[in-house]
């Protein structure tokens, strides 16, 4: 374990930026049509419960990384194996997110640049930050948090000022009934983005005020849930359900339609900056937890040495996981939630918590 401490506020900022990472980029819960924002809010509620599970595990073992306490809970061999799976998962999701951002940049802004170059440049910055450790990452987060919020607020004002907001697009509410919304919550929005907070189980031991960490985490999840729901509703009310479901990057399309006073238009950069900043933190956090996890599991003293090799692995993985955008998106929406997210974000932590509960009761 790296000797570092972050404050509860820094944890709050990191979770918030992390949650916004890819959710700003891609359409969420499009199957729910105009009720997508409801599915996001329901997902937030699920996110609270998931965070409570991760926090519960942390409370039993406040000084240990998850890779250490799984060994205590289910034994050395099984625990190590499970820890290893988690690390693979973190690296894989980091690669997926890197691919998402690379695809966006190539599609929107750099049509002539190969994906590898774009991804490599993104990865280079992140690897540099991760090498400096969690404290640096958290401080960078504090700085960018303000910038992202400034962008978000001005962007929101611009959308309203250009008179694009057409709230009738959000009607009728609950056309398909509440059950279909719940179904979409449990197949999508619960795992992505809220279940992804599982990465922060690795970061919780670094927080210096453990009591405040719970409040900070719940606040961060709640606030980001509200933000994401607003953005989802904004996209639908500006573009309409049909266009959102056809757009790989709906927020970009929303920003592109802004036209205020004849000169404030084509503000694509707004979208690019905000989403890349949030994406930077998301991938960095995944990358960081993979690095400290591997260092811990394989008893490597200086974890910062691992950063470059792991960065390269993530970079190559991001290129090879799919041969085209459709394949990449399809995997992310249909295969990953069930076979990867669901067990690792919900089932396994819940099981661990139950076992930890009984074990600790016995010892007392």
């Amino acid at each position: 374990m790296e000797k570092a401490k972050i404050s509860a506020y820094q944890l709050f900022v990191l979770i918030l930026l992390f949650e916004h990472g890819t959710t700003l980029l891609i359409p969420l819960a499009v199957e729910a049509k105009q009720d997508a924002w409801l599915a996001v809010l329901l997902g937030t509620v699920g996110g609270f419960i998931l965070f409570w599970i991760y926090y519960g595990l942390y409370q039993y073992y406040p000084d240990n990384l998850p890779t250490q306490y799984v060994q205590k809970i289910i034994g050395k061999v099984l625990g190590r194996l499970l820890g290893f799976f988690f690390l693979l998962y973190f690296m894989y999701i980091a690669a997926r997110d890197l691919r998402d951002f690379g695809e966006m940049l190539v599609t929107v802004a750099y049509p002539d640049t190969p994906l590898f170059i774009v991804n490599a440049l993104l990865m280079l910055v992140m690897v540099y930050t991760v090498r400096k450790g969690i404290e640096v990452l958290a401080r960078t987060g504090e700085l960018f948090f303000i910038i992202v919020y400034l962008f978000a607020i001005t962007g929101f004002i611009l959308v309203i000022a250009s008179g694009l907001l057409n709230l009738t697009n959000l009607k009728p509410v609950l056309e398909e009934g509440i059950l279909s919304i719940i179904k979409i919550t449990f197949t999508q929005t619960l795992y992505f983005p809220f279940g992804e907070v599982v990465a922060f189980a690795m970061i919780l031991p670094y927080v210096n005020q453990s009591k405040k960490a719970k409040v900070a985490g719940l606040f961060a999840i709640g606030l980001s849930g509200i933000n994401i729901a607003i953005i989802t509703a904004l996209n639908i009310s500006v573009l309409g359900v049909d266009l959102v479901s056809r757009s790989p990057f709906p927020l970009l399309s929303t920003i592109q339609t802004i036209r205020v006073a004849e000169f404030l238009e084509r503000l694509d950069v707004y979208f690019m900056l905000t989403s890349i900043i949030c994406g930077f933190f998301k991938i960095s956090v995944y990358c960081y937890v993979a690095v400290i996890g591997i260092a811990d599991l394989f008893n490597i003293k200086e974890s910062s040495r691992l950063v470059y090799p792991i960065g390269i692995v993530i970079l190559f993985l991001s290129i090879t996981i799919a041969s085209n955008t459709s394949e990449h998106i399809k995997e992310g929406l249909q295969i990953i939630p069930f076979f990867v997210h669901m067990p690792l974000q919900v089932a396994v932590p819940l099981l661990l918590l139950v076992i930890a509960f009984f074990k600790n009761r016995k010892s007392r």
Binding site: Y110, K171, D242, L243, S253, Q256, T257
Partner: protein, 407 residues
Amino acid sequence: MNRKWMFLFLMLTGLALTSGCWGKKELTDIALVSALGIDKNEEGRYVGTIQIINPGNVAGGLQGGGGGQAPSITTYSATGDNMVEMSRRASTKISRRLYYAHTNLVVINEELAKEEGITKIFDAFDRDPEFRTTATIIIAHDTKAADILKTLTGVDKIPANKVIKTLKFTEQRWGEHMEVSIQEGIKDLVSPGKEPVITGFRVNGNAEQGKKLENVQQSALEAILQADGLAVFKDGKLVDWFQGETARGVTWILDKIQGTDININWEGEQEAIAYQVIRQKTKVSANMKNGQPKISIHVRAEGDIGEVMVPVDLTVPSVLFNIEKTLEKEIQKEINHAIQRAQKNQSDIFGFGEAVHRSNPKAWKKLKQDWNNVHFPQLKADVTVEAFVRRTGLRNKPYFSNMESNQ
């Protein structure tokens, strides 16, 4: 120390490599496309007309000298089976790379819109990251799209800008036309509860003369681009043109009126009082009665008296009240005309279907299938209008009211 220098070196190399030289486009190597026209030739292939800005000549004209030698735009045509092929093939004629990020106008041929429909042609514009879907669409009325693009214009040197600004200001002042972007057009095409309406433009005058520079070197232009009618679509095909007050009825219902002028008859005199609308709000709602949808349209207009041609005492509130009542009937008439005509065309351009969908999603599921052909033409619309005369300008009684009493 060595490490630091190494790092600085890496950063500088990074800076040089990442500042966008990979896909660089020099300003002198790109052709700014201001407008794109789409026609169809006898062989059934698309003919695209591309209007390119001549930057030097636009700037020269603004400074008052040197702008006379060449027109501010140049147009090229190319054929293709689709938009992308057409655009790429155009490069055989143009010395620069076509750059579509500033294309603000797409002109569509009337015949093309009637026969083949506009359903399929927008995909390239929708998909391409360079092209903006905020670009305006217009239909070339009684001419080819190419002629609209080739006509040179006065005051605003770039014809595409002239068309867009004309649309914008006529929408604000007269209200028979409206600006429709590609995005809105696609939205209406896709929606089962609304059909698109797109403004038409015609070349008023001699189209051949309009292409020559002499056209802009005289005080009365030989050819003028003029907004003319609203094209009504059904299943993606142009079915009818709405003109005049019928067209304004459409903009009333769609809540697009920003200002207009309405004349009413007064004491036997035809069109004797001119009322200028300053602001208005239209609300469309739907409800189901005995299994049949019913639409309520509520219009609220506020405005001033702009001109009177009869001696009428505008200081008396009851007179203004009567004027308001007459105005309400007039506006109601325009709206009913528009609805009747659209029902005859079996094309729900007003989005009544969407209103039904919003208020009663269950009923809409049944009605959706043959909304345009069966339900919309039988629809009962209840139009209520509230018109308010707020002010009468700098005078109350007209000057001639005293003249007549002296006699």
